[in-house]
Amino acid sequence: MREVLRAAVMVCRKDLRMEWRTKATISYVVPFVLIVVVLFAFALDTDPVLLRRATAGVYWITVLFAATLIAQRSAAIEGRDGVMDSLRLSGLDPAGQFLGKAAAIFAQLLLIQIPLGIGVAVLYGVSLERPGIGVLSALLATLAVAASGAIYGPLAAGFVGSEAVLPLLYLPVLTPVMMAATRSAESALGFGVGAGWHWTAMLGMLGATFLVLGTLTAASLLEHR
């Protein structure tokens, strides 16, 4: 267990340090996220009622798009110049490597949700009515998206045109996350019927499922990605 944790901390710190060096998420993904928010506003027409109603959906669709970019990059940085061989020889616990990658994706997804949240709040004119459920469900949903991203990113890496392969595999699996996150967000924004705690529970269950499956398959994935 200590080995798993040690590997996870090392890999996560390494990934975040690389992100800090290249600023890829901040310089590409954050502007992308803001563009999507603005484009959706035009696509849906700038009717305030409609925009407010669509906020939760737009928010999470944008997070999913950003997640495909981040998961792709997370897998790509391990796929260059013999790094995979070094990782296989390193003795770092495979499950720990998976958890570390998932943690780094989680952190980056949280990072992009700051400008995204501010963006929709300002441009779509919404406010958080129930911050408790809003924050908790967003954290759980982000965890589920990050854990599945750490599974699917490497699976789709290394092909010609892997940019297209990842969304094809990744997005259908995320539909339950999308539904649960959107409904939770709606009730957090004051649109939903009731508190929607069952949706939050669903998010927790999905996150746990992805984490467990990723941990169990990590050794196979490291060996044969």
Partner: protein, 280 residues
Amino acid sequence: MTEKATAERAALQGPLSTGSRATRVLGLASIASLALLVFYTFKATKPDVELGETVRILYIHVPTISTAYLLLLTNAVASVVFLVKKNRFADHLAGASAEVGLLLLGLTLVTGMLWGRPTWGTYWVWDPRLTTTLIMFLMYLGYVTLRGLPGEFVTRGTRAAIVGIVSVFMLYPVRQSVNWWSSLHQGSTALGRPLKAEISGNQELALYIGFLAFLILAVWLVVHRFRLAWLEESARETSLTAEIAERRAAEAPGSTTVRADVSAAARVSQGAGSPQEDTQ
């Protein structure tokens, strides 16, 4: 030389076509049971009290989705076996069952939409069952696409197996969230639950014939698809054996038996020149 010949003979001992007596029996059985299903669907049953004539579509629609679920379960079990054992059998079984499963999911969607047209007046309603099937269809479409991408046997199999396992664990959450999601918008309608309609007598029999027919059909298709994949792999291996022999023969002068002589000769003639000069 002998190595190559033995390998070729070994490969030839396997099946040379995807058919056999058993599959022909299966094929005939599926044709017969499908014919029986057609008879029961259109002739032997009366229109439903609630659903009218459209109930007839359900004798196909319901068996296809149950058989599809069975195949996806098979895929998941085979995927787990592959991750542990890395054997060809599990990989081909996983691939074959997912492909046929995808076909049946597609059939379920089509029949569902055909049923929806007269019932709801439109081909697509975000009915929880259909929506769940659509999401599953998309998930396994990704799986089949991934299998089709080039790669080493073990690599491709491992990637596919992981996707297969994750996908099967998503079936329940997908279904549950779609149920909650649609009850939020539509409220539960009688239309969304066609099986709640009373079925009895010949209707029930027709449904069972449907289950049987599609089960036999699925097994038949899976066996053929499995054998095809097996033959492809065997063909690759046979050519590989030939390739190994060829590579050794072409680059090292002489065959395996002569190789000992070459090394001996090389040791003797080291002063005169290197073995590499022979090939240049």
